[in-house]
């Protein structure tokens, strides 16, 4: 290893050659302010265009100030991070950015979470000395994501997320100079583009330029409507992150407080998407075994590997990018949609309600779910199975609106029957969780034996794509796992070329899985936040009395009373779906 020695603010530091000044300073506890820069190890995310110039520092012997994010350490360097010259330059840079930024902080959706706002506060900027033209660009409201490009500072993080990490390729800087803007091809709106609505651009945007479409008001309207019965479902990853919005440490489990809050907000029934996750395992697991058995019996037509289909971002991704492989993923709907379907059929009947009188709200770590519930195939006579999907952040907003002291709320339990879940349902929230849940059930169904060890540690982790072999009593099952659509693409290319050795592959669009979803509280580039959320998910699983989906008594009851058995005709009608070739649709008219 090649080491170099230098001083930063008179503190000596030894780093590997090639380390940037910003990283070197960080390693000795000196935080150089930055704006466009963002780096997340394990996520293949590195954005350092060196464009904003906020991180400039003074290097002795150099005439110009150096951007710390792009300047590599060299032997004997003497660096100063907060001389008067540096601070003045930084203030000038931020003032110039602010001079072309709408001063709408009081009403901006990002207020309080905005990195530009924080920077301006930290630098004590009270006046903008530069007046000039303000750039204006048309707004774009998709079902999931809002683009307000007047607030864009051209940091390019969204491009890195969309192109490098997710390989979706919707966003690019277009035009030049004052006219430049980050936009889809031909400056079309997002809903005409190949956008998957994964929301990773929103997750990394430092300002209010990219935010989620806020549906909190629709929820409030439903809650105050006396003719409606309002049912809420919460996804597993929400409980592991919601606390962060109320100042709690990342990875604090707030399941009980969340249920309490939802009840106080006025929801008639507080249910879990985890229940539908268990149901997904029944259907998807059965489909896996069915395909596997046909394959073992010599059926050449059967498609293997089977790919999971729980993630709407991933579904839209393959519909656009791999339409020729639409028969490879499982036909099982996502847990959100399975829940909606069952709530408006089985549960409505049980409660003696018409489906139109039921409003199903979902709380999701996800922005793609907002889009998913608007898909036409997920509605009956114009009535959607899931009426409104809000993000973890929006739920936090609703809780604040209602003046609830979240930290002080008592723990409460979900309602029955759609609020009972197993540990298998809970781990759907993290990468590796869906396939682990599937293995727990498929093993017992396939071998007829009792599974003693339910923790499949070989399936867990944070690496972008992983593989493991699970022994099904002599049958070696090869399993692939990918999170982040860029990693998914690689596995998919393998499948396409016929080189894939896998029997089953789990794919989640967001890095980390749903815990890193586009609708979660902002992580501001800190990967540890995701790791802590992941630990919380496994902790909740561990504490559950039942940890296999097929042992969920309410799932058993649902099949007994209503569905019959997995993949029955009724199951097919309510719990399975089909996919669309969207390759052409992305083209402009």
């Amino acid at each position: 290893m090649n080491l170099v020695k230098l001083t930063i603010d008179d503190k000596p530091v030894v780093v590997e050659k090639g380390t940037t000044l910003l990283e070197a300073a960080k390693s000795i506890g000196i935080k150089i302010p930055s704006l466009c820069y963002m780096k997340m190890d394990d996520m293949n995310f590195e954005n350092k265009p060196g464009g904003c110039r906020v991180c400039v520092v003074e290097v002795e012997g150099r005439r110009n100030l150096a951007p710390a994010c792009k300047t590599e350490c060299t032997e004997g360097m003497e660096v100063h991070t907060h001389t008067v010259r540096v601070v003045n330059a930084r203030r000038t840079v931020v003032e110039l950015i602010l001079s072309d930024h709408p001063a709408e902080c009081l009403t901006c959706a990002k207020s309080g979470e905005c990195e530009l706002q924080d920077l301006a506060q930290n630098l004590g900027i009270r006046e903008i000395h530069y007046t000039g033209e303000q750039s204006h660009y048309k707004g774009d409201q998709s079902p999931a994501i809002i683009r307000e490009m007047d607030k864009c500072i051209m940091c390019r993080r969204c491009e890195t997320a969309c192109n490098e990490v997710q390989t979706v390729g919707v966003l690019s800087a277009v035009n030049r100079g004052f006219e430049s803007v980050v936009a889809p091809a031909f400056e079309m709106d997002l809903d005409h583009s190949v956008c998957t609505y994964c929301g990773q651009c929103v997750a990394v945007c430092p300002t209010g330029a990219l935010t989620e479409r806020d549906y909190t008001w629709k929820v409030i309207e439903a809650l105050v409507d006396p003719t409606k019965t309002v049912v809420v479902q919460t996804a597993p990853a929400v409980r592991a992150a919601l606390g962060e919005s109320f100042g709690m440490e990342a990875g604090t489990l707030v399941t009980g407080k969340m249920v309490s809050a939802l009840r106080k907000l006025g929801f008639d029934y507080v249910f879990e998407t985890d229940f539908a996750a268990d149901l997904t395992i029944m259907e998807e697991g059965t489909e896996l075994l069915d395909r596997l058995n046909r394959h073992l019996n010599g059926d050449k037509e059967v498609k293997l590997p089977i790919l999971t289909s729980c993630c709407p971002g991933w579904v839209k991704f393959f519909e656009h990018q791999f339409p020729e492989m639409m028969d490879v993923p499982s036909t099982a709907k996502s847990p959100q949609q399975m829940f909606g379907s069952i709530a408006k059929s089985y549960f409505a009947k049980k409660m003696n309600k018409k489906r139109e009188d039921l409003v199903v709200v979902s709380v999701m770590p996800c922005l793609a779910k907002k889009y998913e519930c608007t898909r036409e195939e997920f509605s009956v006579n114009g009535d959607p199975d899931v009426n409104v999907s809000i993000s973890t952040r929006e739920l936090a907003q609703l809780i604040r609106n209602a003046n609830l002291d979240f930290a002080a709320l008592p723990d409460d339990d979900f309602d029955q029957p759609l609020g009972e879940s197993t540990g298998a349902g809970v781990i759907f929230g993290t990468t590796g969780g869906v396939i682990e849940a599937a293995v727990r059930t498929a093993y017992e169904l396939h071998t007829g034996k009792h599974l003693e060890r339910v923790d499949f540690k070989e399936l867990r982790g944070m690496e972008g794509s992983r593989k493991a072999t699970v022994d099904f009593d002599g049958l070696k099952l090869n399993i692939g796992i990918a999170h982040g659509l860029g990693n998914a693409r690689k596995l998919l290319e393998e499948v396409k070329s016929g080189k894939s050795e896998f029997h089953a592959i789990e794919i989640m669009a967001c890095p980390g899985g749903c815990i890193g979803g586009g609708g979660q509280p902002y992580h501001h580039g800190n990967v540890d936040v995701l790791k802590k959320r992941q630990r919380a998910i496994y902790e909740e699983d561990k504490g559950k009395p039942i940890r296999k989906s097929h042992e969920n008594p309410f799932i058993q009851e649902l099949y007994k009373e209503f569905l019959g058995k997995p993949m029955s005709d009724l199951s097919h009608e309510l719990l399975h779906t089909h996919y669309f070739n969207r390759k052409k649709k992305a083209e402009i008219e």
Partner: protein
Amino acid sequence: MAKVKIPENKVQELKDLCAKFNNEPGELINVLHGAQGMFGYLPAEIQEIVAEEMNVSVAHVYGVVTFYSFFSMLPKGKHPISICMGTACYVRGAEKVLDEFKRHLDVKVGETTPDGKFSLSCLRCVGACGLAPVVTIGERVYGRVSPEDVKGILGEY
């Protein structure tokens, strides 16, 4: 944006062009340069084909096309006129030359005359600053152009 239907043989020509550069994403600018030479401009459909062939996103291609003023998404005239607005040309009166072209042709910058004969655009430095102000029409370069020369130059076409 109207959708343009380009004939099948032209599509193949475009694909061959991409192949000539080994479909290498780093050669995008060269491919677009060639494509504009082939079609006169770069409508959306051509950008989509190039993106598909070069294995880059359409957004990226569009980003490059809109960044460089050389590329155009609107059909150029039979004789595309470019006035250099680089520093040297500018200080030696390029703007007055441009005004004269606008007046004679009755079009704005970026537009094409109704008969499709001329189109007018500006560019930044053709690397012939000693000849400032410089005007190019098609492949021809005119140096030390004064507003009085404009009428005569147009008369050549």
